[in-house]
Symmetry: C2
């Protein structure tokens, strides 16, 4: 079990963060540090101890899942009990900045705002570097997702509604063993492919247009994420040029990526090629993001990301060009950041598919 | 369009809440007050004006959907721009207590914590009383949900996995026109029915056991919620007694409910009958909750809810008894609170179904 080792890394970081204890609320962080998969828990971490709090619904489950922290199930007032422990000794208490205002207000009331210190990304930074076992879990999720896409392709025909294809995608994820989709599946067709975050509608597919699929599954807690844009019929000159531009931008971004390079540099590589074609302003989002226990996590591949990518990070590479009124193309794969370059996880071909 | 009228009600409540302006962030509240269905918006409400802020992704959509507030799309710094407007005049600024700590920290930095006032449930209290058009929308969602359950029943057989039934449920929701499921569908079988919030597993259904379904759909933004527990085979004496107890408790709760009665009284009615059978401690959750643009909203039907239920509220009635190691039964319908009593929305029969 990797949990003790992960928890120790957090414990040894507390003094550098100038806190005596840390409160962990976020579900993905709890799962990462203890293995707990329920929806309500709270981990109080001191340098030499950790106590896990939950409510009565999870007594049995927490007892089975959490082996590296003492489990406490207060009859009532879980938060109060946890704060009492966290505040012992009178030192500074760190909390995840991602908590809600109301939780913060209760912290401030019980411990005093001056003792509190918001911390951003402490556990998330650890999570960004995946262990081999995590990469294996992500690969299994990516493979499942690719299998689902393959199953869907024969259904992509004129007259089928976007919404029905999205329903088929999520159904087949579950039938292939996924817990569920890691985000609302995007199926967009025709000019709607020019909306980067289109929700599937009743619109029916027609001939001579792009169809864009953005899909991800959760398998054993780990997410996958892939986008493919296919053409229904024979692509014309403009459609082909658009597709090849994004494909080449994606390749250049992939070839730029390796450990030590910044997210900004990878983003720039994709953007440079698209800008050369005169479409720079139609690439309106960033190039990629980390994927793991959450569908969006660290690191990011965007203009502002100037820290070197660590070896072992798992990220998407997903440039896109969206021409209003005409259509858009996005091509998204997942890769592992290695010292030698990008190790591709996604096995689905990325050449233009004409159906 | 009902949006102007709803917004006016909020505007006329500002002075009683002792604020000069109110910041609305919550997606369901934005949809209720303006019709906006995107994922990122912010409404600044003054007594005589309202301005809606969003980002570049939603320029077109907000222009079409939001007709009762001026729409502003700042090039960057949406929150800063909105706060600048909200703070004009130097008065008190109300904000929804449901926002995150980081958003609160930005509010406090720009406006000063002393000018801020957290408000809980201002818009939510309005939303609790449904307009006729909303009740019609909820009824359509409830009917869709019942149709899906009917389609599923022929698939409920020995050897089928819980997970596969859940996949079928959500697939059929989409095929029947729903946007998606309003929560992760619960399918639990055998002793697992004794876990009130069981997630579906690979476990396959066997003969002589309960199978519990808790399902809800979103249609045109409005949620539905229903639980049915069926028996695979012929129910024995204990199973039958368990089922009849919950059924009768549910009936008594339904007959107690009407406008002016408290949520606590309805909860007590269900609990009284179950306790008489000696199973009081196995009814481990509250009796019901409001449903509308969100799957859980006001009012609640629980021991502590001492305010009278308003006419026009839409709530679930869902007592359950969970016997560890044996199994559990929950029966959940949706009703409209009327002066004369509970108007039933759910048409699916609730007598014991032996398959």
């Amino acid at each position: 079990m990797p949990y003790s080792e992960r928890l120790k890394k957090v414990q040894s970081a507390l003094s550098a963060e100038r806190v005596d204890s840390l409160l962990v609320f976020a579900a993905a962080n709890l799962r990462y540090l203890t293995g707990f998969t329920g929806s309500n828990g709270l981990l109080v971490i001191h340098e030499r101890a950790a106590v896990f709090f939950t409510d009565g619904r999870y007594t049995t489950q927490a007892g089975q899942e959490v082996t590296n922290a003492r489990v406490v199930v207060p009859k009532k007032g879980m938060l109060e009990a946890a704060l009492k422990l966290a505040g012992q000794g009178g030192g500074r208490v760190g909390f995840e900045a991602s908590i809600g205002y109301q939780t913060f207000a209760r912290l401030a009331k019980q411990l005093g705002a001056r003792r509190l210190r918001p911390l951003s990304g402490l556990v998330e930074k650890l999570r960004a570097v995946k262990e081999d076992r995590e990469i294996a879990a992500i690969r299994a999720s990516v493979d499942l997702n690719s299998r689902v896409f393959e199953e869907i392709l024969p259904l992509v025909k004129e007259g089928v509604a976007e919404k029905d294809l999205a329903a088929e995608v999520e159904y087949r994820m579950r039938r292939n063993g996924a817990e569920k989709a890691s985000f609302d599946t995007i199926v967009a067709s025709g000019a709607r492919t020019a909306l980067p975050h289109a929700q599937p509608t009743e619109r029916r597919l027609r001939g001579n247009e792009f169809v864009l699929f953005d899909l991800g599954a959760i398998l054993n807690g780990y997410s996958s994420d892939m986008t493919r844009t296919v053409f229904l019929g024979r692509a014309g000159k403009q459609a082909r040029r658009l597709y090849q531009t994004v494909l080449e931008a994606q390749r250049q971004a992939r070839e730029t990526l390796r450990a030590g390079v910044t997210g900004a540099a990878v983003d720039r590589a994709a953007r440079r090629h698209i800008s050369k074609q005169g479409w720079g302003r139609f690439f309106s989002h960033s190039t990629g993001h980390g994927v793991g226990l959450e569908i969006h996590e660290m690191p990011r591949l965007a203009a502002g990301d100037r820290s070197p990518l660590p070896a072992g990070a798992v990220v998407t590479i997903e440039p896109g060009v969206y021409l209003p009124g005409f259509g858009g193309v996005r091509i998204e794969d997942m890769v592992v950041v290695r010292d030698s370059g990008a190790e591709l996880l996604t096995s689905t071909p990325r050449e233009l598919l004409e159906l």
